[in-house]
Symmetry: C2
Subunit: 230 residues, 2 copies
């Protein structure tokens, strides 16, 4: 096999977090090169004997100090030959979600020049990263309607209204609170805890937790977690 190639393989991670009723994306500030000080996705070149998904996790650790709760391959960007002006780079993008607890940790430690941005207040981005984020956002919206993926964005215990708000903001739609609750509970993947959420006003709500065992059980049986809105 004698084919010489001059193409680099990179990975990029679109990490989503949710807090203060907003969807956030993790970005890091470029430290070197032409695009110094521009904001960009976490990412970098893959090492010769490193599986792609491990490369993502390594970059997330090195550049932002986090490990994620959900990771899946999104898309490989390699049709634009000049994505990176310096050389031909094919980038395998991954789509990641983190629980809001970890979220806080990172958001506070700004030392590393890693920061969360609300999805609708993104700064100018390096390369084609704006487009990549749009692709990831659409994927998130799509997945949310037939997979209970939203729990990876919430803390372990949460009031029902937080879950409802998450769906509203990410899908950018209005939901009937009562029907949403009914449908979501009917899946049988939520557990009521003993704790309650104390609030500024109104009746205190019970805290729920996601039961991943029951979820996996149902998923194996081919159950579909479709959730629609009026």
């Amino acid at each position: 096999m004698n084919i010489q190639q001059n193409i680099r393989v990179a990975v990029d991670a679109i990490v989503f977090g949710y807090s203060r009723r907003q969807l956030h994306v993790l970005l890091i500030r470029q430290k070197f090169g032409l695009l110094k000080d521009r904001w960009a996705l976490v990412g970098g070149f893959v090492q010769d004997h490193e599986p792609l998904s491990e490369a993502v996790q390594r970059e997330l650790r090195e550049e932002a100090g986090i490990s994620v709760d959900y990771l899946e391959q999104l898309y490989t960007f390699g049709d634009d030959v000049h994505r990176d002006p310096r050389m031909r780079v094919v980038s395998v993008a991954y789509f990641a979600l983190v629980h809001t607890e970890k979220y806080q940790l990172i958001a506070d430690s700004d030392a590393e020049d890693a920061r969360w941005f609300p999805i609708d207040e993104l700064p100018p981005l390096a390369f084609d990263h704006a487009r990549i984020i749009q692709t990831a956002y659409r994927r998130l919206q799509g997945k949310l309607s037939y997979q209970p993926i939203g729990f990876d964005l919430l803390p372990e215990h949460f009031p029902f209204s937080d879950l409802e708000n998450l769906y509203c903001t990410i899908l950018n739609t209005e939901i009937d609170r009562r029907n949403f609750r009914k449908k979501m509970l009917s899946f049988g993947i939520l557990e009521e805890t003993e704790h309650s959420a104390i609030q500024k006003s109104g009746r205190p709500g019970k805290l729920f937790k996601f039961n991943s065992l029951k979820y996996n059980d149902l998923k194996e049986k081919g159950f579909v977690f479709e959730i629609k809105f009026a």
Copy 2:
């Protein structure tokens, strides 16, 4: 940017065809190397200044002499560092569909060592291509239920029963003929033609054609072409 990398980027195409009530996959016989005479997917290395999708089309032209009607990126296989025993190869797999007319042309010209295999009668395959085909097959099954993608596997004019059989065989399920017809027609993306299909027995059926203009129109408006089965 000083990072030396020794990873090759390849593309592979999973081409599906449909005929004689069976789903088929296009394979080519390896002519060189360790895996000589093994069957494999159409594919090869990407050239330095070539977009990924063009690389796929080039390989399809060079190795099988076809152009496809539908092409979309499937997944990038690069977690198994020894997929290809000779070196590290990251392969971007594409998922393709061809109309049955073209199908016949290829199937007859066996000269190039390109052949169609029924999906459930695949020969031993090179590399991890069996796994890749399984991934593609599942994607096809998934897509079929919410996108009218099946028309890319049929000739321009077809009787309704052919469409129904396509759904049955690919999804491996039984369908109520009457409800399927009703639902499919309700989308408004099919046109009745003047022609009829003459058959061995039974009342002759009208031939239909897929109206891609209407389809694109509805798709833009966010219409969902979901089709379920009992």
